[in-house]
């Protein structure tokens, strides 16, 4: 089965690559490097990738036990429309905050372009990564004609596997609370407090590092 999965993945990657409009971004399809992980998270104006936009984006690289926060990226992105009240309540980035940091704001294309360089050859790690990837894809698909080809690791999935192993009942599917807070609590990791893209990326990275350690020891 594994070879089939691999084959399909390769095929998709290939089809994806044929769509690339700008040859300067050929590097996006560079070979994946062993042991190179990037954790990323974005805050958005809403939960619909088709309509909503990225407000801030953070990513940190993980090297073994070390989370390289010093070399991470943190972008704030300019917005064409005012950010809605509901989403401000979630990420606490106000329209005013964007105005105040005008100088540091990046255009959407610039931010995503730098992001693509940053994650070159890396495996992406995230919590409900699908959504974040979809948000990025919604930018690059119309622009570059491709979707993010990087392999992905979903930490909630890793966590579920770990918890599921605690039950040795074969087909029994345990109910595991996969909320971010619950995972942090169960793994006894510190909650750095306020949700923002950087914090979430950092904490997701910690979850990933710890889960991987636990996997190693349980093997």
């Amino acid at each position: 089965m594994n070879w089939l999965k691999k084959k399909i993945a390769q095929h998709r990657r290939e089809r994806n690559r044929r769509g690339l409009k700008d040859s300067a971004y050929q590097f996006v399809f560079n070979e994946t490097l062993e042991g190179d992980y990037v954790c990323f998270d974005c805050e958005t104006t809403g939960l619909n990738p088709a309509r909503d936009r990225i407000v801030s984006l953070s990513a940190v690289r993980i090297s073994g036990d070390r989370i390289l926060t010093s070399q991470g990226i943190n972008f704030l992105i300019e917005q064409a429309d005012a950010i809605s009240e509901e989403s401000i309540k979630v990420h606490q980035i106000r329209n005013q905050d964007l105005q105040q940091q005008q100088a540091q704001l990046l255009s959407e294309e610039e931010a995503i372009s730098r992001f693509l360089h940053f994650i070159r050859g890396a495996t992406l790690v995230g919590y409900y990564l699908e959504f974040d990837v979809a948000m990025v894809n919604s930018v690059i698909k119309p622009w570059l004609g491709v979707e993010l080809p990087n392999p992905r690791i979903e930490v909630s999935e890793l966590y579920y596997e770990l918890r599921a192993k605690e039950h040795l009942y074969g087909v029994y599917q345990p109910a595991v609370d996969l909320s971010f807070e619950e995972i942090l609590k169960h793994l006894q990791l510190p909650n750095f407090g306020q949700h923002n893209a950087f914090n979430d990326a950092l904490m997701t990275a910690l979850i990933f590092v710890k889960l991987r350690k636990l996997q190693q020891t349980s093997l």
């Binding site: 953070s58 036990d65 070390r66 989370i67 390289l68 926060t69 010093s70 991470g72 943190n74 905050d97 006894q188 990791l189 510190p190 750095f192 407090g193 306020q194 923002n196 893209a197 950087f198 914090n199 950092l202 990275a205 910690l206 590092v209 710890k210 350690k213 020891t217």
Partner: protein, 637 residues
Amino acid sequence: MAIEQHYQFLQNVTPFDRLPESQLMAIAQTFDVLYYPKGEYVELSEPCLLLVIKGVIQEAQDGKVMAKYANGAYFNETSLLRSETNQASVTQYKVLEEAILYRVPQAVFLETLQSFAEFKAHFYSNIVDKLNAWHQQRQRVAATEVMMEAVCSAPIQPLVVVNADASVSEAARQMVQNKTDCCLIELGEAHESLDERWAILTSTDILRFTARQFEEDSVPSALEFRARDLANKPLQTVHELDYLFNALLKMTRFQIDRLVVRREKNNGEIAYSGFLHLKDLMGVFANQSALVLLKIEQANSVEDLAELSNQLDDLVATLHLKGIKVHYIAKLVNELHRKIIQRLISLLLPEGLHSKVAVLLLGSEGRSEQLLRTDQDNALLFVDDINADEKRQLWDFSAAFTQAMLQLGFPPCPGGVMLNQPTWRQAQTGFKAQLRDWLDKPSMETFMHLAIFADAQIVFGEEALLDVQRKFMAQRLTDTPLFLRHFAKVALQFETPVSFFGGFITRQSEKGAVIDIKKGAIFPIVHGIRVLALENGIKECNTHWRIKALMDLGVFETAQGIELGETLNYFNGLRLDAMLRQKDNAAPGQAGDSELNNDVALDDLTHLQQDILKQALQVVNQFKSFLQQHFKLRELL
């Protein structure tokens, strides 16, 4: 914004909190996060400073645990600051509790160090302290640890026992055969105590005997002379599990070179197992305290003694640094102080008067609780029948003694409790009359005098002179039970510096918020225990021994007594810390000792120390309410 929490973390870590915001931000930018599961070692591929976000890290040097770091602590700064890497020692950081760390690159740390003087000062003073402590520890660890080891860890000479009728030659032969220089002689009389039944014969006795034979013809030969007639009694013994330094104290006190080591047999009976010899003890000690003892004996002038008493302060600092309980340090140092004072008196007092006087140490010296020379409290009692000439000699002595004590670094007593004052230099009858006067007319002043006298210990001269006064005082106390209740109330006169809500009650001084640890914490315990000891007729003067005696009498629960003793140790430790700090800060050449006060600055205490202090002050409050109930002080007013 993204590194907000890094920044906030740093803000709460001393000395980073002293840096300007921009620098903190710059440092926070360079943070990486490290994760280690429990039991792993922190491996550093390149030098860096580490801060603990969560978890516990244990530092070990050459396998010896040096420190533990928990949330909010930083570590590994030593290796960044030390210019040459110390190849000889291996530092290891073990993860005791799953840890998340921040990592700051060496370059960033060193650059910050260069740019901000205050920040640098913190690390350097800290590092110098740490390194000093580490070096001193390495130098002295052997000596001081030996002190706290048990007697049985020292070389013990074999026990040689000869029978009661053995001749001197027979005893000598057995000693030589066993390669030792003393033996026990069983007298065979069924005396009540074990120590009474035995006598000790040493090579010195045989030496003296031989010399006597040479001088006097009437002395019989060694073959005929019975060994028991040369032997010494009573035996001085030490338990094999007692501290070595207690053995040293015993030898010092009785001026002997050998102690008999005793141990319990399986059936609980006490048996002798060998001899502990001073020269063997010196061999294992080989440190200052032992040397000081020898030097005291050799001192021939006040100047010699003054030099020695200055060395004692260093000894106190070293022992304290080593973490030895203040109570033990006090015991050792006071014994040495006494030796110095005894030597001083023998230098100053005409021989003819030795049997007619008693020199007393009062107050904290009497209780063996004075660590640094904070003041001199002493008194002189003499017999009633004394002629005018002798009286004049005594007056001369008292003046010279007080002067010499100043020279030895004992500051004058502000309350004038010194033997050159008429009140504290009296004949037997005169002093008795004065005691009665004090007991009959209670006032704050007489309370103070009585408190000081209640701790009197003889340092030189006739024990009987003090015993008479003690008995007199005890009798008067039994006759007037109300007196003790009023006396006990004095323990409550100062407020405990902790508020109802558990916060400190402080006073502002140039050192910031301070607490007078003596008034607020030490005095109530010491005085309360003193009154209880008087009430129960306990002869001991040291507060710890009094507590022990009170526990034995059932006045306290054992747990309560131990808690009180440890609490007192903690306060005295803080007080000693503060005083050593004051001494260090005193300008050279200045008479630093007289400046010492009892203020403990809260800024000098770590969070942990402050927490313990609060709890300890609660113990003081509990003890005060115990006193209130015990002496029914509420009804007194």
